[in-house]
């Protein structure tokens, strides 16, 4: 069961009592709330929701043309006033007029408003009077790992022969400024919306990493929090450095406990913290290191300069080492 943690044995009794009435009252969970679909019926139920979300939301998923050398990105129209959620790195400065292409080919203009370089949240507003096709923002804090999500966008720019591109995924991990999903994005997806199975926006596509599991979205909670500054066309913050670097080469552990350190780079963060050749890295920042990809995925969300605890097995003993990772020199 990946969805719930098991409470420690000591409190299980009290806990069970507290929850007992709820358990009795609860029906079988909906297919999309199960840790994994269990039957063809579950798959059909999820499929019906994904199709419905696609139908509801595609018309509001727009392509943004920045003109000049600005390139293009995606965005999504929310509410009745013509606000477009997108990524800060797509829209750039406030006060620019950009072209908005709706999936039916209609072209309208919008003005860029505020952007938060740190979280990558950006906002624009359609000019003129609506109504426009639109969707709703989800409440902050309504997202959990394991949730099924639908990603829409115009990757690579608007293509009149292609509909809004639909992809399905699950939420893998949630951080304050990042939602990570396995809903694979490509360059050019930036600014596009991520929906829950109720068709509400829960995130905006921001960037990708080297693994197919590293798809980063700006949490909708960020937009809720900085909404007033975005509307006021403020531009603030500095892009967060993603990808912290420890400084060692590694190989899989034949016994599957984690990864084995092959060589520690001189003067690296790992060397300073005392990580040695043949150490078996089992945990980083409180997360188990499953294999090589697992280690890369963990480090992709850590930040240079912020200390993490690394658990290693050395000579049969478990050690905890504090490491302050550096920047990726590549």
């Amino acid at each position: 069961m990946p969805r719930f943690r098991t409470p420690p044995a000591g409190v299980t009794a009290a806990f069970a009592l507290l929850l007992f009435p709820a358990f009795v009252a609860a029906d079988e969970p909906a297919a999309h709330d199960k840790p994994a679909p269990e039957s063809l019926d579950d798959l059909l139920a999820i499929q019906a929701r994904v199709e419905a979300v696609t139908d509801q939301t595609a018309a509001a998923t727009v392509s943004l043309d920045l003109g000049f050398f600005g390139g293009s990105g995606s965005g999504v129209v929310i509410g009745d006033e013509g606000y477009i959620l997108t990524a800060a790195h797509v829209i750039g400065d406030p006060g620019n007029v950009i072209q908005v292409r709706f999936p039916d080919g209609t072209v309208q203009t919008a003005e860029t408003l505020g952007s938060d370089q740190t979280s990558d949240a950006g906002l624009a507003k359609l000019q003129g009077d609506g109504p426009w096709p639109s969707v709703e923002m989800a409440d902050p804090g309504s997202v959990e790992p394991g949730d099924w999500v639908v990603s829409l966008g115009h990757p690579g720019g608007y293509d009149p022969d292609r509909n809004v591109v639909v992809r399905l995924g699950r939420i893998l991990r949630i951080r304050q400024l990042i939602i990570q999903s396995d809903c694979s994005l490509i360059g050019g997806d930036s600014g596009g919306p991520l929906f829950n199975l109720d068709g509400q926006v829960i995130g905006i596509h921001s960037r990708i990493g080297t693994s197919e599991r590293l798809n980063m979205h700006i949490p909708i909670a960020v937009y809720h929090e900085v909404w007033d500054q975005l509307i006021d066309s403020e531009r603030w913050g500095r892009p967060i450095e993603s990808g912290a670097f420890l400084g060692f080469y590694f190989a899989p552990d034949p016994q599957g406990r984690g990864v084995v350190v092959d060589r520690v780079m001189r003067r690296s963060a790992a060397a300073k913290a005392g990580i040695k050749r043949r150490d078996i890295i089992t945990r980083i920042a409180d997360q188990p290191v499953r294999d090589e990809d697992g280690l890369r995925e963990i480090m992709a969300l850590e930040q240079p300069g912020e200390q993490v605890t690394v658990t290693v097995i050395r000579g049969g003993k478990e050690l905890q080492l504090d490491v302050t990772p550096g920047k990726d020199p590549r």
């Binding site: 990946p2 009290a14 499929q47 043309d65 293509d159 694979s184 693994s211 909670a221």
Partner: protein
């Protein structure tokens, strides 16, 4: 931000409680507090630190299990092909007597083809005919009594519907959803990098890509685009629009302004080469090789199953287990292209027709008149 996702730190709260209460109450308080805190944790927000186990990913082991009934029958219509002994792509069995379709460009060069069937048999295969546009090859397997796929003729998956990539095993190789309805994918390029000039917005050639038609025709950096295939060009969007109807091999007229003079060039449209030093290609292929032939199809639909290039040539199923098409290319980080069932069925009819003609021409069965 912290308000939207409260971080609960049981240790700190319990320490506070200790200061306020006498030692005899600590046990009770601790139990109650822990229960309440765990309840909050259970309810969601504190799951911020949790990382979904890979087995529960969209195509993780636990999720794939649910798809077993979908592939139960169809996997017997899938074969693993070997080109000169090396594992190659998959094939789709289309007749009980061993006719099989696959991705032509992956098997064309092979001197010897063999196939492994879902029941474990290893048989020889022979290439009978090829459809270059769709990149399909018709093979004859040295086997009988096979289970062909059931083509879902006249049916296309709707956007967001599950699609399933069966292999020879009891669980599928990959699953995903329908991402984009059939369209022509036309990776043909002039072979220029361009930008809009700031002063007047006109499109200027910034770079000429080696090995492409523009270079061969003599276009140069700094040329200002005037028209392409008779479409006037005012900005870079016009360039894209003017190339909508062009297919690979077409030769089109490009007029540029160079040194105040209009010059005309005949440019052959070629498929964009895969370029490891190109950022988009690198980002799109990241960790996965793309199919060599992944472009220039008359009609393909797109899905998001993580199809490896080696899984092309096999069928794609809907939840009913019907074959909605044949996977023909891994085109990007998430883009898998599938020839729709209708396209496959008509291509198969043509390929079969060609084979019959060949057999009749070659064989002694033609009675002299």
């Amino acid at each position: 931000m912290s308000q939207t996702r409260p971080q609960i730190r049981p240790a700190a709260r319990v320490a506070e409680a200790k200061r306020e209460a006498g030692p005899w109450r600590v046990g009770v308080l601790l139990a109650v507090l822990t229960a309440v805190l765990l309840l909050l944790a259970w309810a969601g927000p504190a799951s911020a630190q949790r990382y979904l186990d890979r087995d529960y990913d969209t195509d993780g082991k636990e999720v794939l299990k649910a798809f077993s009934p979908v592939v139960a029958e169809a996997r017997h219509a899938v074969v693993q092909l070997y080109a000169d002994g090396k594992k190659s792509v998959l094939g789709t069995v289309v007749s009980a007597d061993g006719r099989t379709l696959t991705k032509a460009s992956e098997v064309r060069e092979a001197e010897r083809l063999t196939a492994r069937l879902a029941d474990g048999r290893r048989v020889d295969a022979q290439l009978l005919a090829e459809d270059r546009l769709n990149d399909l090859a018709l093979l004859q397997l040295d086997a009988d009594g096979l289970t062909p796929v059931e083509f879902a003729e006249g049916v296309l998956p709707r956007l967001g519907q599950w699609v399933v990539v069966p292999g020879l095993k009891e669980v599928p190789e990959a699953v995903g959803v329908m991402s984009a309805m059939p369209r022509r994918v036309n990776g043909v390029r002039l072979g220029i990098a361009m930008g809009d000039r700031r002063s007047d917005g006109r499109s200027v050639i910034g770079d000429v890509i080696p090995g492409m038609g523009a270079e061969a025709a003599g276009l140069q950096q700094g040329d200002i685009l005037v028209s392409i295939a008779d479409h006037p060009v005012r900005n870079s969007q016009d360039v894209i629009d003017s190339l909508q109807d062009v297919i690979v091999g077409d030769v089109i007229e490009v007029v540029v302004e160079r040194g105040g003079e209009d010059l005309s060039f005949e440019v052959e449209m070629r498929l964009r080469p895969l370029d490891r030093s190109n950022r988009d290609d690198r980002m799109n292929s990241m960790g996965n090789r793309m199919s060599e032939r992944r472009d220039g199809f008359a009609s393909v639909f797109q899905h998001d199953a993580t199809l490896s290039p080696a899984e092309c040539g096999g069928p794609l199923l809907d939840l009913q287990g019907r074959c909605v098409g044949i996977n023909i290319a891994r085109a990007g980080r998430i883009e898998a292209y599938t020839l729709p069932a209708d396209v496959v069925v008509s291509a198969l009819a043509e390929l079969t027709g060609e084979v019959e003609v060949l057999v009749n021409d070659a064989g002694p069965a033609n009675d002299p008149h």
